[in-house]
Symmetry: C2
Subunit: 601 residues, 2 copies
């Protein structure tokens, strides 16, 4: 396909021409540390000509339940086992986990589960999925594994975990016939990694969740030079690129600016400063504690996950601070207001989280005072807009000075924007592109970004959940095969036991409530024993609608006026459902669920 | 209060100094048309020294149910009677209307209801409120009144309407002792007006909903020179400023750019073009039809409100097009694809609206074909984010080329941004400022914008719903008085009959469902007639949980094992509620609503 002169070619030219890769191949071999760390799980000579199958079980049609299966011959590697938070039409559901029915019966072939980083949409389903997979070995970096362990401990499952820490991005794993390499990635949680899964024919580079930060405050930026050291030049590469920011113009902001703004707010705050952020943003929490130490202020942490995560960060050596800097939230009144910083959870407007309790005066030790400064150092997760608006209203009403992303850069997200995507494509120059980890329309937009800089559209593959991408010596294609990926709902202790029928009933009852109509029939005498009983909830206020209730009762009585010997229960139940339903609709234009019960005595 | 040199004074200097207003006063008198059009409802000599009471019944703590009472001596004028769409914690509610209990018993003192423009959050409650107020005269511009009439017709109430059209912004009304003037305002619907309510002591300038557009495509921009002609220089002014965009940097975008982008999309579309927008944006609909005529394309309209509103626009002469340009949606297949434009509703991802039906293949005449272009010429109303994401996913999946505000300026909103607010304050130079028509935190942010350009904070009044602002010769203050503004829910035919108890029940049932436990007791024999009946919905799938149901039934049987002669129903009901509730929670960690029923036969 001819390319316009001057258009940069974002793909690896070497592959197209099939040459020039030899010197780089030697470069890979020249890293002995990598080979030394190789952990052989089960070596198998790779059968040339076999194809790598890439199967996203989740994360291709939503933000969440990220889970991708790499299958090559007899070997399976799973990347990420995340959860998805429920949509509005799933009332009562705690969360959704990946559907792993494809892996049933294949447990013995699973060589490992790799976790790209510690966010819940990447690790949240471990307590449900790992037992089902027979506890395969789990690979992840230090913080990721610590968070996985914490999550498993909640269900007393941690002793099953067979964890293997990725200590350096020079680690290399041989998982069956699949070779797996890693590289550092900048994201909104520490210790995020990208993964390269290779066969002799192709290398799949998966970014995990990623962004660029050319001047990070701490930590290591995405390591592209390292990527080049690997064998990605030896064989065609397919870039699996998280694409959540594919409609956002420009580059993602720099964490350094956030740091500077937070510092300025803390320095200038006339009284206490309360900073709400994600408990997983340990790096930022660490920065705030650092600023506090520099200014001689005290930090109080609040929120269960905030306290646990900081504890983990301290234990694994990622957070370092003087023991006297962090004080218990109950002791903050022992210090002058302008010496106190509170770091807490609840920036999404969650009902019972710390910030909401502070705002509404229900917090045990803290309520808003006029000189308080409150900072939302967080983004708005879609679906939480109105809850956050309400929380802001309450805080402003208490007289706090409030800062949020709308009015100052006090947060940057963890995801790459359009210009970042272009830069990545030009740096990695993959042969194929597969946008991942976002809603379908964002995957399409990522594809458009790629084609806008000359990436050939026919080499971009936008998969749905359950699609199979086959990548082998002869190229890449989406198979016709479709793996089941129906929702698996977690609700309380139940996993997968909530059906669409149950959800539909919940929705119906939440719209217009329900009414139970109980007719007790004397079988012998063939008539009602007494007046029908009506029980209703969520429909109308019963006490204020006596007349409506009486009229309804009369209707039911009329239905049962005839001889009820040998009555056909189903016929009468249908009658009740239809007549009562219609009658109530005509009177109220509401459609409560009508539940008829006939009791024969 | 000293002001820094060079700081612009955004308030009326003349008032501060109390002079220089005479020449302008003559300017007002020099407009005879205004006087000629004055409609005297009930002239009353204004009693000097009385204070104007400004009471927002809605719109100060939310976006919606806008309604403001102006009360002066014996005279009451109401501005806007809008509805508010329900929050997530109000399942099943259709909408919320202003609480007008303050006006009960004062109906005869209401001199008029003024409607600033035809959006539902300003006129939507007319079918409920106007009858309760005894059908006072209603003032509004042509399109506004046409939309009010349409809304009343839906409830067969239109014949009650006593409508008075504001024909020109030089119209002046004397409503009792209140003088009312009008001025043109740019907003996202045609015919929007601002209102000046004056007493001898003060003039309240209410912007309605407003924005600047220095280069509108059609229509008249906000008329500030006109504002100056009024008597706002004769007495102190209080600016009631809608503040929805008070956290948005810069100026609101120009409609001209939207026009240019839409035109470009229409010209370049390879096939059909489907544009979803708000049905109230008649101006934009008119522009699209104009573009179509220029290019020789046909336009099909779909969606009930879209068709009705275009019909209204045509009837009142605001939309002009050749009768052959607009074709019925059923006929679009008679034209080549690249000659067809569809304008429809459903840009908010509403379930049954046209665009969703097109996307999901359920539309009678239209389904997405690969060369279709779909344009969301609309903003995202908070709360609809995820529904819109799903709709976009579906459209992209069908292969449509989709354009939305994220990727191109195909919509501008109707609200002013930060720089617009500054400009307005400098142009009007009010003595006092009262931010209105937005969430509380946005009102506070508007106040911050004002103080940032030197407006004295003590002259800014941020009211809640039900607060009373008293504005008289001696100044302006918020009274301690608080008018009731509790929610009035509309649900089907019920207005105000849904209580928080009903809503809480709906929410409970939507979370974990419910279970009805029916124990039928033989009074004479003192024992259960047969096994207890259990009916459950939204809790677990009954068929798949037989064991759990049986265990629950056994528990209930045990409770009723003793002698049941003269049983205390309430005691047993409490027992069932507690024991069954706890048992089910221990087994499932769900808390269905437990409804005990005891039937004695």
């Amino acid at each position: 396909m001819p390319r316009a002169a001057g258009t940069p070619n974002p793909r690896g030219r070497h592959h197209r021409q099939g040459q020039r890769s030899a010197p780089r191949r030697r470069g890979v071999r020249a890293v002995p540390a990598a080979a030394a760390r190789t952990e052989i799980i089960r070596a198998q000579p790779p059968a040339a000509g076999r194809a790598l199958r890439i199967i996203p079980l989740g994360g291709q049609e939503e933000v969440g339940r990220n889970c991708t299966v790499f299958e090559y011959g007899n070997d399976i590697v799973v990347l990420d086992v995340g959860l998805q938070f429920p949509e509005e039409d799933m009332p009562g559901i705690d969360y959704i986990i990946p559907n792993i029915s494809y892996l049933k019966g294949k447990e013995s072939r699973i060589r490992g589960v790799i976790l790209s980083h510690g966010h819940l949409d990447h690790i949240g389903a471990v307590p449900h999925i790992l037992p089902q997979l027979g506890w395969p070995p789990v690979y992840g970096s230090k913080l990721t594994l610590a968070l996985v362990r914490k999550r498993l401990e909640e269900g007393r499952l941690a002793h099953h975990l067979r964890a293997h820490e990725i200590k350096s991005t020079r680690d290399q794993l041989q998982l069956g016939s699949l070779r797996v390499n890693f590289f550092d990635v900048t994201h909104s949680i520490m210790d995020a990694i990208g993964v390269i899964v290779s066969t002799p024919d192709i290398a799949a580079i998966h970014m995990g969740d990623w962004r660029y930060d050319l001047e990070p405050v701490a930590g290591r930026p995405t390591d592209f030079s390292h990527l080049n050291r690997f064998n990605t030049r030896r064989r065609p590469t397919i870039l699996m690129m998280e694409s959540l920011g594919s409609t956002k113009e420009g580059h993602q902001g720099s964490e350094r600016e956030v740091y500077a703004n937070l510092r300025r707010l803390i320095v200038n705050a006339p009284g206490r400063i309360i900073i709400a952020t994600f408990s997983s943003m340990l790096e930022r929490v660490g920065q705030i504690i650092g600023i506090a130490e520099g200014l001689g202020k005290k930090v109080a942490l609040d929120g269960f996950s905030m306290k646990t995560n900081v504890e983990i960060g301290k234990r694994i050596g990622y957070l370092k601070f003087k023991p006297t800097t962090v004080v218990d939230i109950s002791r903050i009144h022992s210090y002058p207001a302008d010496r106190v910083i509170v770091i807490c959870t609840g920036a999404q407007g969650e009902d019972r989280a710390v910030l909401m309790r502070i705002a509404s005066g229900e917090h045990r030790y803290l309520k808003i005072e006029p000189k308080d400064t409150v900072v939302f150092s967080s983004s708005v997760i879609p679906g939480n807009e109105r809850a956050i608006q309400r929380l802001k209203d309450t805080l402003y009403r208490q007289g706090a000075e409030v800062y949020h992303k709308e009015i100052m850069d006090v947060h940057t997200g963890g995801h790459a924007f359009i210009e970042d995507i272009k830069l990545l494509l030009l740096q990695i120059r993959p042969r194929y592109l597969m946008p991942v980890y976002a809603n379908h329309y964002l995957l399409r937009e990522a594809a458009k970004v790629a084609t806008s800089i000359g990436f050939p559209g026919e080499d971009i593959f936008v998969l749905d959940n359950g699609n199979v991408l086959e990548a082998g010596a002869r190229g890449v294609r989406i198979l016709k095969e479709k793996i089941p990926t129906d929702y698996v709902f977690v609700d309380g202790l139940g996993v997968g036991d909530i059906s669409h029928v149950v959800l539909r009933d919940r929705q119906m009852m939440s719209e217009d409530g329900m009414i139970v109509v109980i007719a007790t029939v004397d079988r012998r005498r063939g008539k009602l024993v007494h007046n029908p009983d009506l029980i209703s909830r969520g429909f109308v206020h019963m006490k204020e609608n006596r007349k409506l209730i009486e009229q309804t009762r009369d209707r039911v009585k009329q239905m049962f006026a005839g001889n009820l010997k040998d009555l056909d229960e189903n016929y009468y139940k249908d009658q009740i459902r239809n007549e009562v339903g219609e009658f109530l609709y005509s009177k109220t234009q509401r459609r409560p669920m009508v539940l008829p019960v006939i009791i024969q005595v």
